[in-house]
Each structure stands twice: as C-alpha cells, then as structure tokens.
C-alpha cells in the first residue's frame, strides 16, 4: 500500500531528524537526569543520549523502558535536545526491528484490537464493600466503534508484528 510506505518514509525521516540533531546539540549538562524520577531504574537521559551518539544501542536498552515519559527533561533541556522524544523514537525503532517490548504494551495493544479499549469496564469495590459497575452507578453504556472489523484490520495493518495472536473476529 503506497500510503503506508509513505508514512514509513516520514517516520524514518523523523528518526533521522532525531538521530542527527539530538546527539549533536547535547553538551551533557545533565539537567535532564538531575530532574528525572526514574534514574533509580537505570534511566539516565543524558547518558542515553551519549550512548546513542556512540552507537551503543545494546547499552541504551537497559534504561530505555524505565522512562515514564513525564517529559520534564524535554521541557528543561537548554538545548532542546528532547531526550524523551529520543527515547520514544528508540523504543519504536527497536520494536520495528523485532525487539519484543515489555509484556504490558503487547497486552494493551491486543486488548485494544479485541475490544477497542485497554480493558472492559470493571466492577470496583466501594467503601461499603459492595461491588459497583457502570450500570449500578447509573452511568450510560459507552459502546464500541461501529465497524470493529475495519478497526481491527487497521490495527493489524499497522502493527502486524505485535498482533499475531489476535484473531480476525
């Protein structure tokens, strides 16, 4: 499909832009990492930028999935190097190259392909220890997209590698 290839090309352009700009403008002031709440999990934004600059993608991977994308580093970087966007682009790039993302992402996408939302409405317990639902709370049923088949087909077109286990129906 031509349009899909076109989008692939645009995303590749985006990746190139990030790859070209980010490492070049960063001078490692570490303002990003000093405000980061996920450094304990190995996510150290300025070091991710440096590792990327050196081409050490395997070393980047460790902290890559711990970033909670709060975007604080993006806003505070004096050079507009956008560490959070680099992390986002790297995650996309690695998954597109066949890396299996953390399980939760795959489960969320599969659920969306099956039922449109990440989870169906749950029963929750209130402070009287009663289980309540949308119905008992008097909330309206929200419904699913009218054409779930087309919706699912579109998701499979876009992310076939992550949706192998989702049936057509």
């Amino acid at each position: 499909m031509i349009a899909l290839n076109e989008a692939d090309r645009l995303l590749e352009e985006l990746r190139q832009t990030v790859a070209n700009l980010t490492p070049l403008v960063c001078y490692s002031c570490a303002r990003c990492s000093s405000g980061c709440v996920m450094t304990d999990a190995g996510c150290v934004p300025h070091s991710i930028i440096q590792l990327f600059r050196l081409g050490l993608l395997d070393k980047v991977e460790r902290g890559l999935w711990s970033c909670c994308q709060c975007l604080k580093c993006d806003v505070r970087c004096p050079q507009d190097a956008r560490p959070a966007i680099l992390i986002l682009a790297l995650r996309n790039l690695l998954v597109a190259r066949g890396l299996t993302p953390p399980k939760g992402y795959k489960v969320m996408l599969e659920n969306v392909a099956r039922q449109a939302t990440i989870q169906p409405p749950q029963e929750v317990m209130n402070k009287d220890f009663d289980f309540v639902s949308r119905t008992t709370l008097g909330l309206p049923e929200l419904g699913k997209p009218a054409n779930m088949d087309a919706f699912r087909q579109n998701l499979k077109k876009l992310a076939a590698n992550l949706l192998e286990e989702v049936d057509e129906k």
Binding site: L4, E6, A7, L10, L11, V37, M38, D40, A41, W65, S66, C67, C68, Q69, C70, L71, K72, D74, V75, L88, R91, N92, V95, P101, P102, G104, Y105, K106, M108, L109, V112, A116, T117, I118, Q119, P120, P121, Q122, V124, N126, K127, D128, V132, R134, L137, L139, P140, L142, G143, K144, P145, A146, N147, A150, F151, N154, L155, L158, A159, L162
Partner: protein, 289 residues
C-alpha cells in the same frame, strides 16, 4: 456551553469517581455534555511501541468529534496530550492527513484539516470557560481544608504545542480551589510525576515514588492531595495499600480527591453522588460520607 466528551479507557472502566463527579458538577455550571457514541483507546500508551498506531487511534476520535460540531472535552491528562499532539502533527504534515484518512475511510471517518477541533481539559473548562466568578457564586459550603495540587505531567508539558497551563509554574488548579474556599500552597514536589507511564515495567519504583510524594505532602501540613487525571488518581488513591506494602510506612495513608469532587462538595452536592465512596484513600477523615 456544549462539549462532546471523550472519557478514554481509565475513567470509563475503573476510575468512575471522576466520571460521576463530572456528570454531577458540570450541568450545575451550565456545561452540557454530548456523548461521542463509542469509547476506544486514544492511542497514548501504545505510542511507545508504535507511533503509527497512536496517530491512527487519536485521529479517529478527532474525526468523529469534527462531525459532532462541538469542542472536545477530555478529562484524562493522557488522552488530552494524545489528542492535542495528534492534531498538532496532522496540522503540520499534509501527507500524514492523507495517510490517516485512507485508514479512516474504511470506518466512514475523515479528518478535515480545515476545521481543527478545540480540545479542552477539565481545568480549562472550569478555569477558562466556566470561569472563577461562576464557580465562586455556586459555592454553598466553602471547602476550608489546605490541599496540595498535583497537576500531572501531560497537561502542562511538552512546550512545542499549547498545553493547559505553564510547564514550570501552573496556577489554574490553585485558582479553582481558591474560588471554592480551599487553601493551597506551593511545595517542592508539586510538579513531580506519579510515574504511571512506568507502571508497565517498574511498579515497585513507581510505588516508592508515589509514597514519597504522599508523605512529603502530609509532612508539609496539607490535608489532602488533589488530582485531575485518572492515572495519577489511581496511583495516589487506589494504590495506597500497595504503596504501603512496598515502603512499609503507615504515614502514607492520606486523602486524595479529584478536583471535580472538591468543587462538587463546595457546591453542596452529597459526597456519594460525587463518587467519594469509590475513593480508596481515607477521604472520610475530612468529610462525612
């Protein structure tokens, strides 16, 4: 004032206190809500693994809203950034509009670049649209406690497209709470993230992060924490028991409210009608349930 409302996955499936309180409070402030007709993921969490999936999912919602003719009210911070960023991307890149419309065609939808959607978060509807004067005049039971505001990250960042409030010094939530009589105040952890985006891989660290903020806020003399995002609320409110198990500290137990629940209380609405018996944190320490 009439808006099409998009609830998203969290509010509509588990964080009912937000939806219940919005539906109680908004009509009394002259805000009418029209339903979108369906609920589906906004794409935001999936952006991390596939940006194309995100852009497709977000664009469907924008396209359907264009058909409704109303601005779009989005109470969730994550859905709000997702839809704002998607529209920002589509307005900038004509070719992506063509690409996304080819996918949307199979669903009978089309994103029209010439009529972008106005997208508003709860804080914007209350502060910018309804206005502080109207909120102030609807108060019958001024809320007298001292509350700490937690904005959440995604309504104030990033900086390259318009957000709800200033990235480093937001003030709108404090202004709304001031209008209902509550005391607020700055505190060093005010802009810190709840960590929800890392729940998928680092649940323990996220619990420690939330515990740290809850404990700090209590130590600084606040009576409660206020949020306007279902992901933040779930982390600070619904997961308090789990946080206590991780950090082994009973001082974590602390009341956490949705902004709309506090506005509703000040308007004299009965706590249960605002979903306050759905909060897991000890809100009963401050109000009679």
């Amino acid at each position: 004032m009439k808006y099409t409302v998009f609830w998203g996955c969290m509010i509509a499936t588990v964080e009912y206190g937000y939806e219940v309180s919005v539906r109680e409070v908004f009509p009394r402030l002259g805000v009418e809500l029209a339903e979108l007709g369906w609920n589906a993921c906004c794409g935001y969490p999936l952006m991390q693994v596939n940006t194309r999936v995100w852009l497709y999912l977000a664009s469907r919602i924008l396209a359907e809203t264009q058909g409704s003719g109303h601005p779009l009210f989005v109470p969730c911070n994550g859905c709000h950034i997702s839809l704002c960023e998607a529209q920002h991307t589509l307005m900038k890149h004509d070719r992506l509009v063509g690409w996304v419309n080819e996918l949307l065609r199979d669903e009978g939808l089309r994103f029209n670049q010439s009529s972008p959607v106005r997208i508003l978060h709860t804080i914007e509807v209350l502060h910018d649209e309804v206005g502080l004067e109207k909120i102030r005049s609807s108060v019958v039971k001024p809320f007298s406690f001292k509350v700490a505001c937690h904005y959440g990250c995604h309504i104030i960042r990033p900086a390259d497209f318009p957000r709800v409030d200033d990235a480093e010094n937001p003030t709108k939530m404090e202004a709304i709470l001031g209008a209902i009589g509550a005391k607020t105040g700055d505190y060093p952890e005010r802009l810190e993230c709840c960590g929800a985006g890392a729940n998928v891989v680092e649940p323990e660290l996220v619990a420690r992060l939330c515990g740290w903020k809850l404990k700090s806020v209590r130590a600084r003399g606040f009576d409660a924490l206020v949020t306007s995002c279902p992901a933040c609320q779930m982390n600070y409110d619904a997961k308090q028991d789990a946080i206590m198990q991780v950090v082994k500290d009973p001082d974590i137990s602390f009341p956490v409210f949705y902004l709309t629940q506090l506005v509703g209380l000040a308007m004299g609405i009965e706590p249960r009608k605002l979903g306050l018996n759905l909060n897991k944190s000890p809100v009963e320490n401050l109000i009679d349930l």
